[in-house]
Each structure stands twice: as structure tokens, then as C-alpha cells.
């Protein structure tokens, strides 16, 4: 699986409230409408300009705060192809994979990449490329890749419960990326 798109770069501790405001949590139920509010309180221009495949690049602790899964849904629906960060908050990390949205921990790429640059991410080869430059990242587990291929936990589970494709094993998905960097 390869993802190609432009970089949108943000800082540390981007929280779920600025990704998807709490005031919409019980009034917006349509996924496309969720996408129109993606990152509204951090970067009001994002939702209307983001293109399919674009990549969010951010610092530490992306997605801290609420358990609201809409924070992952709105980005996925807006077309975000992957998020590359120094580290992720644990519930967001799980929610993203459960929505089939790749979350990649790679501080070296975060340091180098800037808004507007074109990148390609090869999920199987575990590498991020920008022109001649490339940065390897810790491989996603087979089960994480499986979730991404399936389009998330619910499509995966739907098939499993209906007796198809019951080979999958979600147990090896690991939370938090390389969160040990921030474990003190």
C-alpha cells in the first residue's frame, strides 16, 4: 500500500477538541459532514483544501484528549492518507487503526518534512520518501496492516462475524507507537 500526497505540518499535543470540536459530537452523525469540520479549531482552512492522500505530519502526542472516534473519522473522511508523528496518544492511535487510517511514528521524518512538500509512504516497505530523501519507520504489525486493508475494525469484524475471512488476528496491534520516548 502506497500513500502519496502533500504534507500538512502541525505541532505537539494536537488534541481531539481541535481536531473535531466537542460541540458537534451529538449533532453531526454523517461522516461526510464530520469531514467538513476536520481540524476546524486548529486550521480552519484545512477541511476545504485537503486532497485525497495528503499526509498530516505532527510532533508529540497527536490526538491527546477525548476518546471521540470522530477525531479519526473526520480526518479519514477528509481524505487524509496517513498521519506521521513523533508520538501518538493511545486512544487516538487505536481509533485511527480502527478506522483504517495509518498512524506512523517517525521523528526523523517529522523533523525534515514541511507543509506543502510531496511525500510517498510505502506501508509494506515501512519507508517515507521525499524526492531523493527517505526515512524508514518501525513496521506496522501484520494485524495493523490488515485493519488498514480491511478499512477498519468494523468492516473486519463484520466479515469475521459473518464467517468470512476469519483468519485475522488483531492481537498483535500495538498501541502508542514509539511512545517510550515520552515515558520518562
Amino acid at each position: 500500500m502506497k500513500i502519496r500526497g502533500r504534507v500538512w505540518k502541525y505541532g505537539n499535543n494536537v488534541n481531539t477538541d481541535v481536531i473535531f470540536p466537542g460541540k458537534y459530537t451529538y449533532t453531526i452523525t454523517d461522516r461526510r459532514e464530520m469531514a467538513r469540520h476536520a481540524l476546524e479549531d486548529l486550521d480552519p482552512g484545512f477541511a476545504s483544501a485537503v486532497q485525497p492522500g495528503d499526509v498530516i505530519v505532527a510532533g508529540r502526542n497527536w490526538g491527546c484528549g477525548s476518546s471521540r472516534e470522530q477525531a479519526a473519522i473526520c480526518l479519514k473522511e477528509a481524505g487524509v492518507g496517513a498521519i506521521v508523528a513523533e508520538s501518538f496518544a493511545r486512544i487516538f492511535f487505536r481509533n485511527a487503526l480502527n478506522e483504517g487510517l495509518p498512524v506512523i511514528t517517525c521523528p526523523e521524518a517529522v523533523a525534515a518534512l514541511q507543509t506543502g512538500e510531496m511525500v510517498e509512504i510505502d506501508l509494506e516497505a515501512s519507508v517515507i520518501r521525499r524526492g531523493e530523501d527517505s526515512w524508514p519507520f518501525p513496521p506496522l504489525s501484520e494485524s495493523a496492516l490488515g485493519l488498514i486493508r480491511e478499512g477498519g475494525l468494523i468492516p473486519y469484524l463484520r466479515r469475521k462475524l459473518s464467517g468470512q475471512n476469519s483468519e485475522g488476528n488483531l492481537k498483535a496491534v500495538e498501541e502508542g507507537g514509539s511512545a517510550k520516548d515520552s515515558r520518562h
Binding site: T29, S67, G152, L161, E174, A179, S182, R183
Partner: protein
Amino acid sequence: MGKTFAEKALARAAGLPEVTAGQVVDARPDVVLSHDNTAAIARTFRSLGVSRVKHPERLAITLDHAVPAPTTQHAQNHAEVRQFVAEQGITNFFEVGRGICHQVLSEEAIVLPGQLILGADSHTTHFGWMGAFGAGVGRSEVAALWATGELWLRVPESIRIILEGELPLGVTAKDFALRIIGDLGADGGTYASIEFSGSGIEAMTIESRMVLPNMMAEMGAKNAYIAPDAAVFDWLAPRLARRTGRPLEECRAQVEAGALYPDPDARYIAEYRYEAAALEPYVACPHSVDHVVPLSQVAGTRVHQAFLGTCTNGRLEDLAAAAAVVKGRQVAPGTRFLVIPASSQVLQEAMRLGYIQTLVEAGAILGVPGCGPCMGNHMGIPAPGEVTISSANRNFQGRMGTREAEIYLASPAVVAASAIRGVITDPREL
């Protein structure tokens, strides 16, 4: 090698003789929590093609986030939740006005020491106050839990935080929680199980103990833990007896039997030690929970709204602290003081003890038990340009409904004192 609380609790929940940090297990929670988001989870659940929840007796559902319904859409959402509850035969359902999920499930003794509770709410870490393993998960995972009864979890590494000695006058569990998050950072506990211990923790009231695990969500913890003692058993047993109609002694034995304690030689990835006497009141400044400073640095900052409530600090002792501060005084002109008890039981006790009378006499506005304005859904939403001081757990930009407002976090007494002066105030000065 000895085992941490997390290793013991997740071994039990997975039905394994022992597990070690880093291991991934299929865990079967004793309780699965959801609130106003139950309707959305129910839609996802139905999309799985499953018609019945596997263990309806393990579900606990409250309506608390936007209650009573402020709009037709919210009302429709609540109606869908009630329909799902009726259709699935869920008995642990708590209607609008009963209170905030973490408070209500504690008061009803639905979660017990040593149990695993997974909730579609990030502050499910709360249940560490009684020595239960509480972790937040997303909506898809709760739908999966309803369908299958289990979920994979990685056993977290553990961090130990020790508090020695007695907190000085005017310094609370909230101040300690803010200090920890300020010191370690918003990602300082990412993915870890936080174990609290020390004489300062043991000396805390039950209500104060609830503050610490609740707030640990704000530094990324998976769960938090305080060793349950006789005070915890005494608090839970009569509540379990009341809810189940079983004899008190039997309930007390059950509550005690589940308790888990870490081994003395358990392995920790970090340890932090605090002296209670060296702590002071702290405030978290906009727009980050780890932007923590001593209260003295921001004293005098103008506030338009003071908000007392939420799952962090909306309990009886919080209302008592606020009532003691405002008694015989008046809320400052140009400032609003919003008080929302965490539950109907808290409200009734506060009425019986006169705290509500005192607060309303001072000019406070009383709200229906629930989450209120904490997440910008309902009531007490600030105008752009306004400043709120809040006893809640989160001060992110836009959190309370508009990105052009600022939120400071503090203890209930500081919130009350700030309401009286109209500026951030140390209650010890009043």
C-alpha cells in the same frame, strides 16, 4: 519478578495465570461504559449484523453529556439510547439527571475493586480510585465489545507516584494532579499504568482519591490505580447492598475479595516522589493541561465565568469547599458562578447539608447533574473573548464551545474564590 497492579488485573481479565508488561491479551471487561454516545455506538453495532448484545448485564449506560436535551437533535439522540436500552434489556441504565457516568457507576457500586472497565470515555481511568482497571476506548471498540465480549489490550508498563505527608491547608488532590501533569507533561504518562501510593494518598478522602486517576487521562495514561483500603470497602459495600438487595456483610466480603495489590518487587519504568508539604495551589493555563503554574503567578486574572462541577470535581466535598468560601459573600458583578453537582445523590446531600442554599444565596447558578459545559455541548458556554475558571479536567482551545475563549483549571475552592472576586484568587486570602 513481582507483578504490578496492571499485570495482575489484566491477567485476571484475560483468564491467564500471569501476564507481563508488553504482552497483548484478549481481555473480557466486567463493565462496558457508554453515555450519550450510546446511540452512535448502537448504529455501529447494528452495522455488524449482530442483533443482541452478548452480555447485556455488563453494560452500564448513563445520559449525562448534554442533559436535559438542549436541542431536538440531542433529544432524538437520547430517544435512540432509550430505545436501544429497552430493546437489549439493559438494566444498568441511568436517566437524564442521575449524574455523570463515572460518579454514578461509583455510587451504584457497579464497578468493584480489581475489575476491568472499558468505557467510551477517556476519563474511564477514574475507576482507579477503588483499585479497578479503567481504560478509555473508542466507539468502534465498544461496538465490538458489545458483540464479542472481549477486546485486545496490551499490558502497560507501570509508573509509580508517591505522595508523602499531609497536604497543607488549601492544597487539594486537584492541585497535586495538576502539579504532576505540569511536571511530567501532557504525554508524560503515555500508555502507562500510573500507581499512586504513600501516606499522603492513604490520608485522602474517597472523593479526593477520585480526582487523581480521573486526571491521569490528561497525561496519556492507560489507567491509574490507588490501593483499595477499608475506607473504600466501607464506601462501596452499602451501595452494593442497596442496589442488589443483598446483605451488607455479604457485599462487603465480595468487594474485599476482588481487591488486587502490586507485589513489593514489581517492576516500574519510573518513580516520582512528592512531599505534600512542598505543594501549593496550582492552575493550568490556556490552552494546555500541562501549562501549570503556581496560583500566585496568575492571581488577579479577570474571569467572566467560574464553573464548579464535572467528573473531576463536582462531588460533595467540592461543593462543601466552595460553600465555605462563598458563605456570607456575593459573586462579583460581571462574573457568573455556575455550579453543577456530579450526581443527583451529590445534589441531595448538598441540599441537606445547606451547601446549595449557601451557594445560591451567594449568587451561584445551579445546573442539572451532568457534564454541563465541560465539552461545549450544553449550558454555560462562554462568549468569544471570555475567560472561564473551571474545576474540570480539560482546557483545550474550543473545549467549551468557542476557540476564542480561555479556560483555566483549578481546585473547587479556587474556582469559588475567583467567582467572589471576579479575578483568579487564592481562597486563603479571603
